[in-house]
Amino acid sequence: MNVLEVRGLNVTYAPDVRAVRGVGFDVAPGEVLGIVGESGSGKSAVALATLGLLPPGARVRGSVRLRGRELLGRPDAELSRVRGRDLAMVFQDPLSALTPVHTVGDQIAETIRVHAGATRAAARARAAELLELVGIPDAPRRARAYPHEFSGGMRQRVMIAMAIANDPVAIVADEPTTSLDVTIQAQVLDVLRTAKEATGAAIVLITHDLGVVAGFADRVMVMYAGRAVESGPVDEVYRRPRMPYTIGLLQSLPRIDGTARGARRIEGAPPDATEPAAGCPFAPRCPVSVPDCADAEPEPALTGPSGHLVACVNTVATADPARVFPAPDRLPVPARPPREERRVVLEVNELVRHHPLYRGTLIKRRVGTVHAVDGIGFDVREGESLGLVGESGCGKTSALMEILRLARPQGGRVSVFGKDTSDLSKGRRKALRRDIQVVFQDPFTSLDPRMRVADILAEPLVTHGVPPERTRERVEKLLELVGLDPAHACRYPHGLSGGQRQRVGIARALALEPRLLLLDEPVAALDVSVQAGVIDLLEELRARLGLAYLFVAHDLAVVRRIADRVAVMYHGRIVEIGSAPEVYGSPAHPYTRALLDAVPLPDPGRERHRRRVPLQGDPPDPASPPRGCRFRPRCPRYASFPDDASRSPCDAQDPVSRPLSGAVRRDQSVACHYPLLPGEGVR
């Protein structure tokens, strides 16, 4: 018996953007259906259409039945009695989704009172209970706080409490963990699991993250260009995907366990939703497309056990997923002298960057100091790629910007190619900028929207006095280098896709032939299927041009793919640094261990049997470092110590970074009083 049945759902936004085209699914009580898709695949429209919350101007056709009762086409008054009681929703961004001017307790109590008609006091008491259930400490007091006084993870817990307030039979969660850090994501998923057990509700989990679905969902539906292209039990789909798109997604995903069998990638970009589709929308990107694909859009057909539906004409070719996408030609890794013999291109010592912290919207006054970067040190050698990872707010981007200023830092020392930045003349600084360049996170904001690609790429050349007659030629070379067409030169950035824009950003950084690139989350804003292409490009460029990278990212799996060495940052400090295989293989700092644990694997079997200790608590307030070890308040190892004696070093002083020794750990340093031994606490 299914609680929620959706059939033939079509959503069209004005004027004629066909966001969803004929999607259908069922969810049983206590079951979790994961809907996976990239941006623009129509997954959020499915969620809103299910609840009848589409913006005015959107047209819906099809059928949505909750416990057998049709919801589509019912008047708003009737729908309002169902929404929030039988059918609840958790939204993506918990800051904007909560009303800023009411306390969270009142907002939860309102949900109860709208439907149950409870007294104000009873509803408030119940609200406090619900907050307790979702793991908010000191719930009765926190119920009187306003949304802006909560952290992102706590806000999402409030949203979940609100959703389960009336014991719904189905919950739709639209990207509930997307804006959260990986450790907080793990916490929130646990809360969602608790909520499911407490209410027995069916859950529709909408996400772009294949890892989240793998560990949480029972069944999965993959969406592409408004269609459900593949669906079935999660194990079945992940193990034997049959739709080329699903196959490509799973194979292009960077994986933290490093088991990606020579990562593949999907070429091209998703189609424009305004153009009517003639055949299979994936055909232009599909390596196994046949002439039939262009005839009609394939309907989902049963191709595997337990209801494995695939919308593909050429399922014969996808019988062995490993052979669908051609294995990329591995670039020969240039033979390089050992690390110790290569030149140091960037050296950072005890770098400090503190920002004054102002509070108050009306009158600003200084209330403290943000210890964004608090004494970090590392070096990057020629041809090497160092990944700087950490949660948001740990200071990794601040460190990058501080290096890029090429000026005297607040504290410590930065030297680039052996030149100390603190006493550079203006001319020397400008000259040095040729050698050190940056690629930003968001390709939509890092390119001036009013300049053509050719002008964007010419700007560094003009600035550094390259003669105009050589500029044109160089721009063409650069476009070719990053895999773009020369015709792209006359386009404006908004005429390019996200992946293409990021390539332009990379080309601009390469214009002056630098030897060191600083990359600030270069693929974080891109869809999974586009990410792989950009990562490949970066790897290829590094091999061909002998570049060194300092690569800032929050995604450990991406760093795993591209970095030779990794530095883990926490609260303005580097807690662990070393070669990537060693740090990922035998993390020595409890924080590194916890970060790695929190990353979900896109492998349902392994994900289900992973033993993990989720990191408790929120990311720290960068304005008030705790005494002693900064990780102490969240440290699972510290919490497990039986007596005060063993805790006392952690309480007393912040550990300094020390190199580890041993057979497997030749290049690894850790700042911990009690580093983990190799193999200790392995999943």
């Binding site: 996170q441 996200g498 800032v552």
Partner: protein
Amino acid sequence: MTTPAAAARTQSQGDASPAPAADGTGRPLSRARAGARRVLASRRAAAGLALLGLLALLAVAGPFVSPWRWDDTDLTAFRAPPSSEHWFGTTQSGRDVFALSVRGLRRSLAIGLCVAVLSTGLAAAVGTVAGFAGGWTGRCLMWGVDVLLVLPSFLVVAVLSPLLGGRWPLLVPLLAAFLWMVTARVVRAMTVSLREREYVLAARFLGVGAPRVIVRHILPHLASLLVVDASLNVSVAIVTESGLSYFGFGVRPPDVSLGTIIADGRGTATTHPWLFGFAAALLVLVVLAVNLLGDGLRDVLDPTSSGPAPRTGGRVRRRARPGNARAHEYGTGPA
């Protein structure tokens, strides 16, 4: 601090950036053409432009079609109602109201346009310098703006009006000197936020110098804001000028402006409505036209207000700034 990288990822590629739809397409020439097309597509802007065009035509061509000059007196018609001889009637002293009104309209339009250009230019200069330089330079400049903002500018201009001695061109710099502060604040705020944009950072990390960054990356993005504000400043200037003239502080007899005509005719508005009605109607139409044009331009050009084109993904955000209310900020508090 790091921006939550993941947050950016959730935005769909199509609507991650609100600006592109409003930003240029094509090279400068074709961008201007595309902009013009969009302006005409906005009904409000088109209506305002058409109305303003008609009024400008009237102001320019009026004296050539009218048989009377503005300073002629018809001794055969005192307070004559509108007729084929005197289209808008005559005044107490036998002057032709049509000719007077057209002359007043010319004055108002000329003053409005000059003041708007001057004050917006001043605002752009002070705002960008204060925003880009920051530090003490910026703080001192903004402090001066605040002090000027506390004084109701209409009063200050009225108090200073004896210095004009009836020479209306002097009114232009005087009005401009007290109408630029609000725009300067907006320009500064925009500059501060533009300064932190990634493409501006990228340019600076490439080694591009500050003046070049302002000219190439900051001013083009302020251009639409400045156009919009200049157009709204036109209506502020016109209303302020006519108000001053109404009280006898602006344009003075024997010269005329719409304000002086209205002041002269108001006492007998109930008995001889033409003395007051035509000038008042022209004034209202001018302000209405400029406001419509300014608001329409804002809808089309200002990236912070929603563009008319809906984007895919359905979540269309409206960031409407209260429209032509700006046109009425004479005296304003420190914001």
